[in-house]
Symmetry: C2
Subunit: 150 residues, 2 copies
């Protein structure tokens, strides 16, 4: 939170990277500005399942998207467990039974409600920030008038 640098989040595609299709853990880490440790942790928590070439991990486009969605979920305040819940059901969808699917719809509605509340919170917070800022500017201005006006 409160990073000074604006994270790219979606790397500037050189217009050819659809060739490569695979990434190392370090590449992904740099892309999304996280550490390799974080990515391994997400795998351990069942959020990623990269191909294994012997001991080495090989990440494909699918994994990159997964990671992107995971990080987005995190920024929105979802826990890894919550994110995994959706991701797992999404994977199990083709042969998911009705009960599972209805559960998934429940979860989605829940997350939607969460987003709605966040939107409202953001609106309110925005106004608060406006207030604080204008007050700060006022005081700042009065300080400068004081020192220049003598």
């Amino acid at each position: 939170m409160s990073k000074r640098t604006s994270a790219p989040q979606e790397p500037a595609n050189g217009g050819l990277s659809r060739q490569r299709r695979t990434y190392t853990i370090g590449e992904l880490a740099r892309m999304f500005e996280v550490t390799p440790r974080t990515i391994r942790f997400y795998e351990q928590e069942g959020l990623l399942a990269p191909e294994r070439r012997g001991q080495a991990r090989i990440y494909h486009e699918k994994d990159r998207v997964r990671l992107k969605l995971t990080l987005r979920g995190k920024r929105l305040g979802f826990s890894l467990a919550e994110i995994r819940e959706v991701v797992e059901m999404y994977d199990a969808m083709p042969d998911g039974n009705a009960r599972q699917l209805k559960r998934l719809l429940e979860i989605l509605a829940d997350k939607r409600a969460n987003l709605e509340r966040q939107l409202e919170d953001i609106r309110l917070m925005h106004r608060e920030l406006d207030d604080v800022e204008s007050r700060a500017r006022e005081v700042l201005a009065s300080l400068e008038t004081e020192s220049t006006g003598r």
Copy 2:
């Protein structure tokens, strides 16, 4: 996160509560659906400073607003430390020096940027949820056709 119940957050004002003006910790806790422990913790972290009548804490309207803003900040993913940073500067504003004020403006800009990113995240997440949901409904529909259509 993922509460089924829609938190009131702003209690239905009976049209007379401006008389009381003070609250116990338990009342506040019920209002905002947190535990007293949480409220004491926020005080310990410098986010609240209720009046003390001997040993007892007495919360006024000001404290209630503080708590409300704190919880809102939390829902938006700010840490207590970040929230305190703003709150403290806000309190120190009347006699804040220029350097402090400029720092405050920086922080505010930072938080604003954060909100912007969250808005974008929410938009994207919303579309994802739409996708997942429509897919789920499709599968669900096909399942029902299968069983009814025999």
